[in-house]
Symmetry: C2
Subunit: 155 residues, 2 copies
């Protein structure tokens, strides 16, 4: 594959949520993933997993923002200036969001999930079941990460 | 965003590995991610994480294969026929691979990682640091998954 080749994706569905702005970061909220009707069959068996990874397209990020190389995490100047690949910032060359969600319910082509931090209308690119290979018990994170998350530690 | 809109991505680098075919599934093997030179700065600070998610483009999947809706996991007919979104098959509408890897070493624009199941030359789309929000301690998987992985349980 030539290094300048373009990759073309088509959304498999979109997010529906009542949450506005920063409300989407509330991990207790539920939202829906509306999968395109012609792909409903591709959900068969997904209800047997409790958690999913959702890959979505951060469609509000501009071409100019995709050129960002360094950021302060969440704009906080008290935290170090870091490369975008060392953070989960939305400002990245390929603005794909990746979030682990809890699967609450499956009804036809609609998944109800908890913890998806995506705005209403966000295009969804892929859905993958979470399994034990996706975790590292002994994972280390830097000090700035712990500082950033001290008010909202994961369960 | 119109439902038929196309999303265009550009690789941020590529995979270099000596592993051929199924050898890439060996979780103990290391491989390199060669990040494009102009993005080297975007790696600053990544060395402080022990684990990363790598998103890569499964470039050997054809347009026809992307239309697959159901599969037997790894082609095993003794396992149920499932929707592609209920499995980690490469045959999916947007063939993006997602693998958790251990970060071994960072040298300029080259990351050495352990456990990346991608072929030599695979285009890399994104690199994200793994953090405690990416895991679910109480995750449930179906019986077929346990059966499929009984010979190679994650650590």
């Amino acid at each position: 594959m030539a290094p300048d080749q373009r990759i073309v994706l088509k959304p498999i569905g979109f997010v529906r949520t009542q949450a506005m702005g920063d409300e989407v970061k509330d991990k207790t909220r539920t939202s829906q993933i509306i999968v395109h009707h012609e792909l409903t069959e591709a959900l068969a068996g997904i209800e047997d997993f409790s958690h999913l990874f959702v890959l979505f397209w951060l469609h509000e990020i501009s071409g100019e923002q995709r050129k960002t190389l360094k950021v302060h995490p969440r704009g906080r100047k008290d935290l170090p200036l870091l490369g975008v690949f060392a953070t989960r910032t939305m400002l990245r060359p390929n603005p794909i969001g990746l979030t682990l969600v809890e699967l609450v319910k499956v009804e036809g082509n609609v998944l109800t999930v908890r913890g998806l931090d995506a705005l209403d209308g966000t295009p969804v690119l892929d859905i993958k079941p979470f399994d034990p290979w996706d975790t590292a018990k002994d994972a280390k994170v830097p000090r700035w990460w712990t500082k950033l998350n001290e008010k909202a530690q994961p369960p």
